[in-house]
Symmetry: C2
Subunit: 202 residues, 2 copies
C-alpha cells in the first residue's frame, strides 16, 4: 500500500518531525521550534500543521517516552530470573533515554489525564520489578531510589549518541553492582513528592 508523492512525504514528515524533535530537545530542552523543523528538513509550516503549538509537540514527545518506559518494563517482566528482569529493565530504560525526556521536559507543558494514568501504571510496573529483585538488593533500597539512579544515568551525555549509550551502560553496571552490596545507606530515601517537584505548577 504505497502512498505516492505528497502523501508519502506527509507520512515521512510525521516521523521525521518526531525524530528530529527528540534529538533537538534532548540536546537542549529550550531549543526553538525552528531548530526542529530544520533538523527534520521540513518547513515550519509543516510542523505547525501537525502540532498546534510547541507545548503539544513536547507533550507528545514526553508521552512517547512514557509509553516506551512501560513497554520496557512489560518486556523485562517476562524474564523469569528476578535479578535479570530488574537489570534488563534498567538497561532498557537507560538505553531508551527515557529519563532525559522526563527530566528535561518536565514543567514545559501541562500533562494530560492520559499521561497521569500512564505515569501511574509505569510506577506500578517498576515497583513490581523492584519487588521481585528485592531479595538481591541491599536492604534499604526503595523504589524511589531507583528513580534517582535512572536520572543519574541520564546525566551521562555526549554529542555522540551511540557512545553515550556505551558509557551509560558502563556507569549503570557500577550502579547495579553497588545495589547488591550489603552495607547501610546514609540518610532517608527520597520521598515521592521530592522526586516530582519538577511537575509542580509554576
Amino acid at each position: 500500500m504505497r502512498r505516492p508523492g505528497r502523501g508519502e512525504q506527509a507520512v515521512r514528515n510525521n516521523e521525521a518531525i518526531l525524530v528530529a524533535a527528540r534529538e533537538i530537545f534532548l540536546a537542549d530542552p529550550r531549543a526553538p521550534v525552528a531548530a526542529v523543523a530544520e533538523r527534520a528538513k521540513v518547513g515550519i509550516g509543516a510542523l505547525y500543521r501537525r502540532y498546534p503549538g510547541k507545548e503539544d509537540l513536547l507533550r507528545t514527545l514526553c508521552h512517547d517516552g512514557l509509553k516506551t518506559f512501560i513497554a520496557e518494563a512489560e518486556q523485562a517482566a517476562l524474564e523469569p530470573d528476578d535479578w535479570t528482569a530488574f537489570a534488563t529493565f534498567l538497561r532498557g530504560v537507560v538505553q531508551a533515554d527515557v529519563h532525559s525526556l522526563t527530566v528535561h521536559l518536565a514543567g514545559t507543558f501541562t500533562p494530560t489525564e492520559q499521561m497521569n494514568a500512564d505515569a501511574e501504571l509505569a510506577a506500578d510496573l517498576a515497583a513490581g520489578l523492584i519487588e521481585r529483585a528485592r531479595p538481591h538488593l541491599r536492604a534499604d533500597i526503595e523504589a524511589a531510589d531507583i528513580t534517582l539512579l535512572l536520572e543519574m544515568c541520564a546525566a551521562v551525555r555526549l554529542p555522540d549518541a551511540a557512545r553515550t549509550g556505551e558509557l551509560r551502560d558502563r556507569c549503570l553496571t557500577v550502579l547495579l553492582d553497588g545495589l547488591r552490596t550489603a552495607g547501610p545507606l546514609p540518610g532517608p530515601p527520597p520521598r515521592v513528592l521530592e522526586l516530582n517537584w519538577r511537575w509542580l505548577s509554576t
Copy 2:
C-alpha cells in the same frame, strides 16, 4: 577592624553577589543577571560595578569551583588510608557541588589561562588519589570514569539544597560500593576528549 557604613555594605555585597550568583546559576545556568542582583538584594548597578559583564561573573564562579575542587583534593590527600582518602575526596567534591558548576556553566564563557592551569592541577591531584585507591577498585576503572560518576551525582537535584546533599551522599554510597566489586565493565572508558566536549568552542 570594623568598616563602617558604605564600605561595610560594599564588602558584604561582594560576598552576597557571589553567593547569590552561585544559587541562581546552579538552579538555572541561563538565568538573567537581574535575578542574581535581586537574590543578592543588590541593584544591578552594584553588580556591574564589580563584573564587566555576565561572562566575567560566570567565569569567576566557575574558577571558584575549580579552586574548591583542588582544596578538597589536597585536604583528602592528607588522609593516610588510601581508600578513605579517595572516598573523602569524592564526598567532599559532591557535597561542594563543584560539578554542577562545571557541567552547567561550561561553554558559557572562555576560560582564562589560569583556569586551564588550575584544571590541569586539579586533574593531577585527582589522578593521584585514584592511583592510591586503585588496589581497592575494580580493575578496569580509570580516572576518566570518576569524572563521569561525579557528574552523575551532580544530576541529583532538588529544590532543597540540604536534602539534595543527603540524597547525593546516598547515591554516592551506592556508586562507591559499586566501584569496589570485581566484575568487568562493558565498553571502553571515556576518553579525555569525550569529557571535555562542552568546552569546545561553539
